[in-house]
Each structure stands twice: as structure tokens, then as C-alpha cells.
């Protein structure tokens, strides 16, 4: 068939995927093995496409799309949520992992911050979010000034900064926040979830514009995976809802602002 990119991946025997350093979307075991919901799904689909291996490299959120454009990865499976402008920058597959947004705050939410709008309205509340991530955009769009949106490199840093009082809110998807709280085991923290002025987002595997043929082939196998129930077996142990991903579509998600 007419899919040179896929042929090339088959030839070399592996696909290069970009992942984030953020459980449970991705996880790195002590032996260095990469797992997590995103990579596991990608692995299953690529196997079905005849590409036996994936080579994962961890990347910052901000660096993923430029990295894709710079041909550093073949696909991003990192919880990079679909949004209109992202859909213009990359070619998404059908939805894979869905999650609502959450806030990590100090116990009792002392500043009463439950939405992005609350933060914008508050005089000096600071929010931490991954650089180039969805939450940074949401905060800026809600009108939080740049100097109160702190770009935090990774989850542990965000957690730390919140514990140390450098941040009032640390925002990530619900499952990521839960995982952070599990690791931290710190009862001076609590989670606000879901954040009401943020939609439920879903990510998809993000391909380079121009690799649509590969994306389409990926979609076909992904659909089969969802059909067979294997998909749910992969994502649900990590806490994700398979039903959420199956009840929506790329078309819908990309249309939303």
C-alpha cells in the first residue's frame, strides 16, 4: 500500500515515541523500562501495524511538538491533549486517554481557588503548570498574568514548590495529581477535581503533519483495539476510563476552543 513512512518504520523495526516524565501517563521502572498508559497503547497498536518495538524518549511538554517537527520523534504519546491550535500543528489519532483537570492545593484550600477564573481574580495567587502544557494555556486564557503562571519542569518539582509554599496551585490532569499525592503521602495537601472551568481533555497519538497516512493506519488498529476490549485492559489499571475515550472523537475535540 501507499504508506512509505510505515514501511520505513517496519523496516527499522521500531518507532520513536516521545513521552513525558509524568506518571501515570508514562512510567519508568527501576530497570529503565518505559510503561504507562500512553506508551502501552502505542506499543500495542504499533505491534499490530508490524512495528515490533518502540523507542521511548522522555521530553518536556514544550519540546514535544517542536521535536516532532524537527523529526526527533515519529509520534508523541504523552498526554498531549487535543485542542484546536494543536490540531493545526500536528496530526492527531483518535482519542486515547481522557482526563479532567485538577488542582493540587494546600489542605483546606486556604485561598479558595477552585477554578482558573478564581486564580485570575485573586490578587496574588500563583499557579504552577508544565511549560507548553494545557494548564499553562488555560491559566493564561483565563486571564492569569504571565508572572503568576510559573512554568514548572516536572510533577515532583511542582509538588515540592507547592509544599514549600512557592505555589498556591499546581495544576495537572486528575490522574497525574492523584499519582503525585500517592507518592508524596502528605496529608497537608488536597486535590480539587475536576476543575469546573476546564473541559475534560483527551489526548491522541500526535503525528507530524504530512504523516497522515501513518496516522490513518494507526487509527484503524486503534479502533480494533478499542473494539476488542484490549484497550480497556491496558488503560484502566492506570486509572483512565476507556469509555470516555470511546465516547468522543477527534473531530469533536479539535473543534472545541
Amino acid at each position: 500500500q501507499d504508506n512509505p513512512k510505515l514501511e520505513q518504520l517496519k523496516e527499522q523495526g521500531f518507532a520513536r515515541i516521545a513521552i513525558a516524565n509524568e506518571p501515570p501517563f508514562t512510567a519508568v521502572a527501576a530497570d529503565g523500562k518505559v510503561s504507562g498508559a500512553g506508551p502501552d497503547v502505542a506499543k500495542a497498536v504499533f505491534e499490530r501495524l508490524g512495528v515490533p518495538e518502540v523507542a521511548a524518549s522522555i521530553s518536556e511538554y514544550g519540546a514535544m511538538i517542536p521535536g516532532l517537527q524537527a523529526r526527533r520523534h515519529d509520534v508523541v504519546t504523552a498526554g498531549l491533549f487535543m485542542k484546536k491550535d494543536r490540531c493545526e500543528a500536528v496530526a492527531y489519532s483518535e482519542p486515547i486517554l481522557c482526563d479532567a483537570e485538577a488542582f493540587l492545593v494546600k489542605k483546606g484550600n486556604p485561598k479558595g481557588l477552585n477554578t482558573f477564573a478564581d486564580i485570575a481574580a485573586h490578587a496574588d495567587a500563583t499557579i504552577g503548570a508544565p511549560g507548553g502544557g494545557t494548564e499553562e494555556r488555560l491559566a493564561l486564557d483565563a486571564g492569569v498574568p504571565r508572572d503568576r503562571v510559573v512554568v514548572v519542569p516536572d510533577g515532583q518539582s511542582g509538588l515540592r514548590m507547592l509544599q514549600d509554599g512557592r505555589l498556591d496551585v499546581y495544576s495537572l490532569p486528575v490522574l497525574s495529581i492523584s499519582d503525585l499525592m500517592r507518592l508524596a503521602n502528605d496529608d497537608s495537601l488536597e486535590m480539587v477535581a475536576p476543575v469546573s472551568d476546564a473541559p475534560v481533555y483527551c489526548d491522541g497519538a500526535a503525528f507530524r503533519k504530512g504523516d497522515e497516512a501513518l496516522r490513518d493506519a494507526f487509527d484503524v488498529e486503534l479502533a480494533k483495539l478499542k473494539e476488542s476490549g484490549e484497550f480497556a485492559e491496558i488503560v484502566e489499571p492506570y486509572g483512565f476510563s476507556a469509555a470516555a475515550a470511546m465516547s468522543t472523537s477527534r473531530e469533536k475535540l479539535c473543534a472545541a476552543q
Binding site: 514544550g62 517537527q69 507548553g132 512557592r166
Partner: protein
Amino acid sequence: MEWDWEFVWQIMPTLLEGFKITIIATLLGSVLAAIVGLLFAVLRRSPNPYIARPIGFMAEFIRGTPLLVQLYFLFYVLPSAGILLSPLVAGVIGLGLHYGTYVAEVYRGGIDNVPRGQWEAAKACNLNPLQTWVHVILPQAIPPMIPALANYFIAMFKETPLLSAITVLELMNQARSIANTNYRYIEPMTMVGVFFLVISIISVFGLRWLERRYGRVER
């Protein structure tokens, strides 16, 4: 991907905003390094080995390990010891400590270059140690060190992008943030390079002037 001048102009104010922080961090870092360096230099000369040795080891250790990791340490580990630093303060301390160890070497060289006869003349004039340092040794030792010191401060300026790793919104971090939101790396990254190059070229001339002005001592 094509170079887009319009985009460059659009991001310029943001970059300048970051540049301001870069300059502030460099200036504060330089002042701190100058002070820390003096402490290191003087303490390393201490006749008491229980002071000189650990200080010496500490300076070696700081000089032998990456500034980036030291910044992580200052920013993420110290709070568990109850020391909470704002990003900029942590960054300035990191720069100051790291470069202080280099600056200490410059001081040491400068001090060693003051002839022994000056120490002896000070003693023959019955000056006490503090007077000797303040009125005789340092005024002679410092001017020849100025070019070397300036050199390290310029080097420090070029390492300020590391502060972006601890969330300081300096030039590099602003550029990355622009790149992240616009999915364009070429213009912000190149412009950051241009900023650094321009300052560096200016500072090369500044250094030449300093060398002419202070490099030589007449005895």
C-alpha cells in the same frame, strides 16, 4: 521552516522582559561572587588547617560539579531543611557560589602577586593586619585582577540560561515559553543567541579597555 520577521518583532517585548531578569541575575550574581570569592580566598589562606582544608575542599567540590545540579539542589532540596528561596534568589546564590570559587582563584593570584616586601614594609610601619590588608595589599592586588574578574562575570552572564531550569523567567525561559506556545523554536532561540552575542562583543571591547586601564601595575 521559514524565518518570520513579523514574529520576531512580536516576541521582542517578551524577550526584553526576560533580558532584564538576565541582567539583574548577572549583576547580583557578580556582587555575590565577588564577596564569596573573597571569603574563600581569605579563609583558604587561614593558618588554621581546620578552616583552610574544609573550605578548600568545598571550593573544589563546587567547582567540580555542574551549576545546573547545584541549582536543583538549592531550589528543591534545601526547602526540606527549612530554607526556602525564591527562584531568583536561589539562582543568584547558585551563580554567586559557583563563580565565587573561580573568583577566589583570581584573588589568590592577585594577592600572591603583591611582593613580599610590601608585607614587610607594612610591618616595619607597624600597621596591624587589617590595616595592612585594607591600605597596602588590597589596593595593589585588586586593580590587576579586574580584567580577570570581568572575564568571569561575562562567563556568568552566559550561564544565566540555566536559571530557567529553576523557573526564573529570564531570557531563555521566556524564549522557551514563546516556543512552547507558538511551536516555533527558530526565531526565539536565534534571537536569544543574538542577544548573548551582542553583549559578548560589547564586553570584549570593554575587557580590552579594562586590561589597558588596570592590567599593568607600575612599581
